[in-house]
């Protein structure tokens, strides 16, 4: 009876997994087909004539003026830069808010930062565009990188962690004459590696995957991120070139998929602990 039940549950789970995985498998399969086969409507997961042309053309720029190598470089650079800034600025701020009681306006800042988590992106999107426009920074890496540093999620996550951090080591270091920066950089940071990795994965994926902001804030092809570039291709002349599109999406998805699978456990922990997306 028990075994029978388990078999039924596993069978259902396999069917459900098929729903989640088939589109991804189909994406990879289509990326290995020529345009003719991709549009044939056949359901062959293994291409009749497998070809790497879509990847080679995409990466060497052979596709009509689509600098995909540049796009992926842009995406990775922007995501790494934003993540670095988020990690540094959030951890410094969270350390001060959690551990430095003489910080002026400490309580008000905590409330304001937490309240800001409720502010939807639609409220700041257009004025932020106009702000960068006024500064002459549209279509630059500044516009692609800086807006993500304002999010309070990292401060909130690290603040919670630092508050529960044992005081004794830190106090001992202070008595030994270490200043605040030394306590932060030599004691607090090295003890927070796992939570910093979690926040890093979170931030990297959020920035790398964002496509609406980069879509509007970039105006020339070489400044696009891969996600914005794909959105434009899918709207333009590539609608019927599924093989090429799928080679792009496969390349675009690989970095986040690898990071997601490796960091899944800490990712899940961050979601469930913070209760905030």
């Amino acid at each position: 009876m028990r075994r029978m039940q388990t078999t039924i549950y596993v069978s259902i789970a396999v069917l459900v997994a098929a729903f989640f995985l088939l589109p991804l498998i189909w994406m990879i399969s289509t990326s290995l087909k020529n345009d003719f086969e991709a549009l044939s409507g056949q359901m062959n997961f293994i291409p009749n004539k497998p070809t790497l042309d879509n990847y080679i053309q995409g990466l060497t720029g052979g596709l009509m003026n689509v600098p995909i190598g540049r796009w992926i470089t842009n995406s990775l650079s922007v995501a790494v830069a934003s993540t670095g800034l988020i990690l540094l600025f959030s951890s410094m701020a969270a350390y001060a808010l959690a551990r430095l009681p003489d910080l002026p306006l400490r309580k008000s800042m905590i409330s304001v930062f937490i309240a800001s988590l409720m502010i939807p992106g639609v409220l700041t999107f257009l004025p932020m565009y106009m702000e960068f426009n006024a500064l002459g920074l549209i279509n630059t890496y500044y516009a692609l990188t800086l807006p993500y540093t304002a999010g309070a999620f990292g401060v909130f996550l690290l603040f919670q962690f630092f508050t529960s951090f044992p005081k004794e080591i830190e106090e001992a270091a202070r008595i030994d004459g270490a200043n605040k920066w030394q306590v932060y950089s030599r004691i607090v940071l090295p003890s927070s590696v796992s939570i910093m990795v979690t926040l890093g994965i979170f931030s990297f994926m959020a920035v790398y995957n964002d496509f609406v902001w980069p879509l509007y804030v970039t105006t020339s092809p070489e400044m696009r991120t891969i996600t914005a570039g794909i959105a434009i291709m899918a709207q333009g002349s590539f609608t019927q070139s599924y093989g090429k599109l799928m080679a792009m999406t496969t390349i675009a998805t690989l970095p986040v998929l690898i990071i997601f699978i490796i960091g899944q456990r800490s990712f899940v922990k961050a979601i469930t602990q913070s209760g905030i997306k």
């Binding site: 409720m118 932020m128 496509f211 997306k277």
Partner: protein, 296 residues
């Protein structure tokens, strides 16, 4: 602890970099957005005439172009919320229950499978499903053809387009809800179930009597986050249906961005964006209130 002026100054330095970002890319845009919404603000012109609350008044004046744009978009967005949120909650919970019934060895594997699409960018997700739902060469119609079903114009017909939009949304985000539910289910004490079993309760009675009441707060949380996420829907109609057929899936966010960047009317678009943001924040406040009430 010494709290000299110098010490307070050095403490402030730690917050300064983040505070600068916070002010520059959150506070200033909020204030500037409100300022823009009070002006006749064209994207490409330098002259911005102050018009007071005219932009808002126009939105609330029936049968004007702007009020149509706002309220039709809002109604379409609400339709999407109504179609997607119940499924996002119920199927998310069902998936969590399913994962917990699996043998321990494969549980993590299937959780990963169900959660995997969540890692993908919205634009990639939409392009994958653009191909899946293609009327002539798409995977779905090819599969249906095996059962002699005529090709369905998934992206150019109503209600098929809604089915397509909701399906892609479920595929993309339901893993998030599942993970939250799995975590909640694992916090239900095992003895509760054992005690109920001794009293002769069946699985359904245990679910209704024990599981549901305990996970109710989490359910509320998932309901609110899903509602907000669905309210913000953009990528799916933008890339899959392009708002069509006609403008029957043209959601509010699409209308706002079109008004801003196609019609170059940033002033009226900002007024619409602020109204949309207020609605989303009201949902957030309700969430906060309910969560707060729960702790007391």
């Amino acid at each position: 602890m010494k709290t000299s002026l110098y010490s307070r100054f050095t403490s402030s330095l730690f917050v300064l970099p983040y505070l600068l970002c916070f002010v520059s890319f959150l506070l200033i845009p909020i204030v500037y957005g409100f300022y823009i919404s009070l002006h006749d603000f064209e994207l490409l012109s330098d002259k911005h005439k102050y018009v007071g609350f005219d932009n808002y008044i126009k939105i609330f004046t029936p049968d004007t172009y702007l009020s149509d744009l706002f309220f039709k978009g809002l109604w379409i967005t609400i339709q999407f919320v109504i179609y997607s949120v119940p499924l996002l909650i119920i199927i998310g919970l069902l998936l969590a229950l399913l994962v917990n019934q699996l043998p321990g060895r494969i549980r993590g594997l299937f959780r990963t499978f169900f959660f995997l699409p969540y890692a993908i960018s919205a634009s990639v997700m939409a392009v994958i499903w653009l191909m899946m739902f293609d009327t002539n060469a798409g995977f779905i119609n090819s599969m249906l053809a095996k059962f002699s079903v005529m090709p369905v114009p998934w992206l150019t017909d109503i209600p098929a387009a809604w089915v397509a939009l909701v399906t892609t949304t479920l595929w993309w985000t339901i893993g998030f809800n599942m993970v939250i539910f799995v975590n909640a289910l694992n916090q239900v004490p095992e003895d509760f179930y054992e005690a109920a079993s001794m009293d002769g309760a069946n699985a359904w009675q245990k679910f209704i009597g024990i599981t549901l009441p305990i996970i109710k707060p989490v359910m509320l949380f998932v309901m609110i986050t899903s509602t907000i996420a669905s309210f913000n829907i953009y990528a799916q109609p933008f890339l899959l249906t392009r708002g069509g057929p006609g403008s029957s899936t043209k959601v509010l966010l699409m209308n706002i961005l079109d008004e801003a960047f196609k019609n170059k009317e940033i002033g009226t678009a900002s007024a619409m964006a602020i109204l949309m943001a207020i609605m989303i924040m009201i949902i957030s406040v309700i969430q906060y209130r309910l969560a707060y009430a729960r702790k007391e």
